[in-house]
């Protein structure tokens, strides 16, 4: 079963761009609706989002959308207008670029890159520039403190994130995300190969590191000091309203979607399921990846709605004193086992 279509590279590029452009708001809405509105409401007995529209408050999201669109676009007098306007766009572009390398099937990927996973982490670090621009251009003390906290936090947690991924790269022998999926699908653990070798089994330390660091990169509770609403109002986003705020919102949840997809690809076997090959794998791939991604996202948001916020010094101590040394040890252990047990 193959889908044979002859189309030029221009059309292909347009289709790919359109799909990725649609995935970001869609993914953000799915996560925002399922987890922020419904799961949190159930967990924390919030009655508001459960009411509009009758059944489980399904209308809440539409209402929120209309509210954001009709809000006045406010820019502070002292603001640096161009930087202020450009900042949300940079955050969203950084999210957009991550999706280019995430494979949803053997052939269903926007662009196969030799350095796939490294690329994804490199472009995800671009969002810090947008956050710093937003905080500084707002001409607001709270915004500036929020932006500085965000920069310090994102730089600190980029390291454990990269170190965690290195373990996977060593084990798979490639940085290409499709190659990592194939390595998991074809692998075997303790001689059993009927379900391959999802790296969560051998790289459980890396998986935990990745999730903790991703939580900090996404500035989600317990690492939400940059937007801590009880200290900084809303951190670097405090002066943004309406459509511009929506950009930050989409960027945040879109990146959560992307990181959940990355975690599912790196540690849970990605789009692959045992015994499915060829065209059928392309067909089922997106669904399989989506299910795995939602499982990871459920876990991430579960943590977000459960734990209180850490202190700023505790945040840095966790990264530099614990996560980075553990990450380095994990790399050494993985490298030794890789050589000792071929």
């Amino acid at each position: 079963m193959t889908l044979a279509l002859e189309i030029g590279w221009g059309t292909t590029l347009a289709i790919k761009t359109l799909i990725v452009l649609m995935i970001i708001p869609l993914g953000a809405l799915i996560l925002g609706y399922t987890f922020l509105l419904k799961m949190m409401s159930h967990m924390q007995s919030r009655l508001g989002p459960m009411d509009p529209g009758g059944f489980h408050g399904w209308f809440q999201l539409v209402g929120d959308g209309i509210k954001f669109l009709q809000k006045e676009d406010i820019m502070p007098d002292e603001a640096d207008r161009r930087v202020f306007a450009l900042a949300p766009a940079i955050v969203v572009i950084s999210t957009f670029l991550i999706f280019l390398v995430i494979p949803t099937g053997p052939r269903l990927v926007v662009q196969h890159l030799d350095v796939g996973v490294f690329y994804a982490l490199a472009v995800s670090s671009l969002s810090v520039v947008g956050v710093l621009m937003a905080g500084w251009a707002s001409a607001n003390k709270f915004a500036l403190i929020g932006a500085l906290r965000a920069a310090a936090q994102l730089i600190a947690y980029e390291l454990p994130l990269l170190l965690a991924v290195v373990g996977v790269v060593i084990q798979a022998g490639t940085m290409n995300l499709n190659g990592i999926v194939i390595a998991q699908a074809n692998g075997s653990i303790f001689g059993m190969d009927f379900f391959g070798n999802p790296f969560i089994l051998t790289q459980i330390v890396g998986f935990v590191l990745f999730l903790i660091a991703a939580q900090a990169e996404l500035t989600q509770t317990p690492f939400d000091m940059p937007v801590a609403e009880s200290e900084l109002v809303a951190g670097y986003m405090v002066e943004y309203t309406g459509f511009r705020f929506l950009f930050f919102f989409i960027g945040e949840f879109g990146t959560a979607f992307a990181f959940a997809a990355l975690a599912a690809t790196l540690y849970l076997g990605g789009y692959a399921i045992p015994g499915v090959n060829g065209g059928l794998a392309d067909l089922l791939g997106p669904i399989v990846l989506f299910v795995k991604l939602m499982a990871v996202a459920f876990f991430m948001f579960w943590v977000r709605f459960t734990y209180p916020r850490l202190r700023e010094d505790q945040l840095q101590a966790i990264a530099w004193k614990y996560l980075i040394p553990i990450g380095l040890l994990n790399i050494i252990a993985t490298a030794i086992i890789k050589v000792a047990v071929p």
Binding site: D80, V115, S125, V129, L132, W136, A151, A152, E158
Partner: protein, 171 residues
């Protein structure tokens, strides 16, 4: 004219304009933001040269870390809102001489070494070029042919790091 050449000139012009912005901007934060454009342009040039891994290293190190630290330092100490005219000083002529001298030396070296060389981008030679740019081959060269320089640089950086900690600590 091949497509790569057109893109090279577009990127080169954007980089030069942004570089002028870095030195001409009266606001130090704007200068740092222009520097982001220059760095991104350099990364794009690496991609044009089929050095994919180096390009993304450029992005994660220079944009993702170095410029963030620049901005962080500027905002932590003095983050002027609006124009800041105190950035100019009377060393501009010395600076101009140094820049012209450096541009001349680097330009002459590059033209002498690569001026007549055609870089093949298609066919067997092009394939070979793509092959060299791959991360695995880069790692192979670093850890075999160039392992001694690599370790020397590592020790130099480690020494710099330890030195910074020694200078910064209070006791």
């Amino acid at each position: 004219m091949v497509v790569q050449n057109i893109f090279f000139w577009v990127l080169a012009v954007a980089m030069v304009l942004a570089a002028i912005g870095v030195v001409r901007s009266p606001n130090i934060v704007h200068s740092a933001l222009y520097l982001v454009v220059v760095m991104a342009g350099a990364a794009a040039q690496y991609i044009l040269l089929a050095a994919e891994f180096v390009a993304w290293v450029q992005v994660i190190i220079y944009i993702g870390a170095v410029i963030i630290l620049f901005l962080f330092g500027i905002m932590l100490t003095r983050a002027p809102m609006g124009g800041d005219t105190n950035l100019d000083n009377d060393q501009r002529w010395q600076a101009a001489v140094v820049s012209v001298f450096l541009a001349g030396v680097l330009g002459t070296l590059l033209i002498q070494e690569f001026g007549k060389k055609e870089i093949a981008i298609s066919g067997a030679k092009g394939e070979q070029l793509l092959h060299i740019g791959k991360a695995a081959n880069l790692a192979d060269s670093i850890f075999t042919a160039y392992v001694v320089p690599f370790e020397v640089v590592s020790i130099l950086l480690l020494a710099a790091l330890v030195g910074a900690v020694v200078i910064a600590r209070r006791d």
